[in-house]
């Protein structure tokens, strides 16, 4: 992976990001004006007009956009109307909670999927494979909000072992992580299993065995590295989904993450927070995609673009 390739990716991403920001900027303003939400019901037109002027909403939209761009160039993402704090502060408080949750979920899910998928592939249609395949299919299919609600019902309400919602000590992490774990785990087990079966049937596995390699070496050195490629693609996809915030789960568990923040910002017409949030998530997604490319190149020499 060369520097020029990285820079090319970076410039493409900037173009995409620019387009996205224009779209977001226009779309959020179509949802309505914050003025109505912020003034009492009996406010008169003059008061509405005064607030709109103060917020800069009376200017033509391209002027507003230019002003926003100029602010960004000074790393100023604007003030949150609702929180009365810089939007950047609000976003950067919520984003790490989501990213951390996603990283824990995806990390555990990937590790478990590699182990379970590889073991299932070693004896296809054996007892372990049948159980693992059925369980992973179920895990990938059950809606996570349902798992979350059932988890709260059983472990928080009935048994009282875990808090129902909120953010804090490790016990607050158990239910959200467990709830989100099943889908990435289920999806990735299927991917790893399929890729490992294909890899274990590949001619180079026969070569490795003919060289006298033991099972452990055949599976973990020769087959797994080939099987990881499709897994990385799918795991990257899942990472992108998690990075955008798991709104439903954050709502169910009162998790102070970016997904919940964005939904609230839409409802509150908090344009600055919404714009800052989308910008931040887009940058994270860009970083994830670059990381996937690097991981690919690290694992498979055939996708290295320049020597």
């Amino acid at each position: 992976m060369s520097l020029t390739f990285f820079l090319r990716r970076l410039s493409f991403s900037f173009v995409a990001l620019g387009g996205l920001m224009v779209l977001v900027f226009v779309l959020v303003r179509l949802t309505g004006s914050p003025v109505d939400l912020f003034l009492p019901l009996d406010a008169n037109d003059a008061m509405r007009r005064a607030l709109a002027v103060r917020l800069g909403l009376e200017d033509p939209i391209y002027v507003q956009f230019a002003r926003w761009l100029a602010d960004i160039s000074r790393l100023d993402l604007g003030m949150s109307l609702w929180h009365s704090r810089p939007a950047a502060d609000v976003v950067f408080q919520a984003l790490p909670q989501t990213l951390l949750l996603g990283a824990v979920v995806l990390g555990l899910g990937s590790l478990a999927a590699i182990v379970v998928g590889a073991l299932a592939a070693f004896r296809p249609y054996g007892a372990f494979d049948r159980i693992a395949s059925a369980a992973s299919l179920m895990g990938a299919s059950i809606p996570d909000f349902w798992i979350g609600l059932m988890g709260i019902l059983v472990f928080s309400v009935s048994l009282g072992w875990l808090p129902t919602s909120g953010y804090g000590s490790p016990s607050y992490w158990v239910l959200p992580v467990a709830t989100l774990f099943f889908r990435p785990f289920g999806v990735l087990v299927q991917i790893v299993r399929g890729a490992m079966i294909a890899a274990l049937n590949a001619p180079y596995i026969r070569t490795a065995r003919a060289k006298g390699a033991a099972n452990r070496r055949v599976i973990f050195i020769h087959a797994l590295r080939n099987a990881l490629l499709p897994m990385i693609t799918v795991a990257g996809d899942l990472a992108v989904q998690l990075a955008g915030g798991v709104t439903v789960i954050e709502t169910v568990f009162g998790w102070p993450g970016i997904g919940k923040l964005m939904i609230d910002a839409i409802l509150q017409r908090d344009f600055a927070v919404l714009q800052a949030g989308i910008l931040a998530v887009a940058v994270v997604i860009f970083a994830i995609n670059i990381a996937i490319d690097f991981a690919y190149a690290a694992i498979d020499p055939r996708v290295r673009i320049d020597k």
Binding site: R206, G212, R225
Partner: protein, 327 residues
Amino acid sequence: MTKPSVLEIDNLQVSFRTSGGRVAALNGVSFAVGQNEVLAVLGESGSGKSVTAASVMGLIAQPPGSIDGGQIRFGGVNLLALDADDHRRMCGKRVSLIFQDALSALNPVYPVGWQIAEVFAIHGMADRASAVRHAVELMEAVGIPAAAERAGQYPHQFSGGMCQRIMIAMAIALKPELIIADEPTTALDVTIQAQIVELLKETHAQSGASIMLITHDLGLVAEMADRVVVMYAGRVVEDSDVYRFFAEPLHPYAMGLLASQPRIDRGAGALQPIPGAPPNPLALPSGCAFRPPCPRATLRCAEQTPALRKLASGRAVACHFADEQAL
């Protein structure tokens, strides 16, 4: 046979479980590879030649495969009686395998030098640094230019012929007593085939290793082999030295094979194909499997499976009527 044998296969029976039932791939195969000998195992697809090689290398996956009987004696030891780890430790070291399609037989995500050096690592024959040095020397020995630089490259950066050279380097790394070459030239262009055959002959001459050459290419047999074993439907039907095999094949199937080869001295229209299709392994005919297309078949062939009989000439054949032909 006068020379002592490296490998003796005795009445080997292998079958596979398939959706259509149990298929017998080998129905009692017996032959031996002598020291320093090049033995060609000749047969059509499905005749059991690759299954034989896989059995020697312990590559039959069980299930679906199953080794139902017989012995494979290598250096006096029955490989089938060894436990899997002991069998594995012989593979790559005392007996090695060269595959048909070298590009896909090499692992795409590791450098070729690493893959050659791995043979030393697996068998604990050298430390890391000297294994890498040996790998480069082997690449030079099999005729790969700029071996030191190319050792760090990956299989997809090599041509098919170069990949086959790398396979050969891997196979000769630990100076095995027997090299099994499973259709080593089938996937290559004709000119590259000639180079690889040349390399195999050189390797044989220099190392003195025995070679079991699995092929359906009569030209390759004529070029390299000392002796020929012909397989048909999971049995050995003829075992003969190469000169008399080509001059005067004994088994009707072997005669059919030679007659169906295009020959420049016979002119156009002289090709005589073997009639019918290869036998269905799920429904072999009773008695001799070659009975349906055989011009000499009689009722006896359906009732009695001909055994592989040694003739006075030292050749062996599995046909009731071969005595009449063996002059």
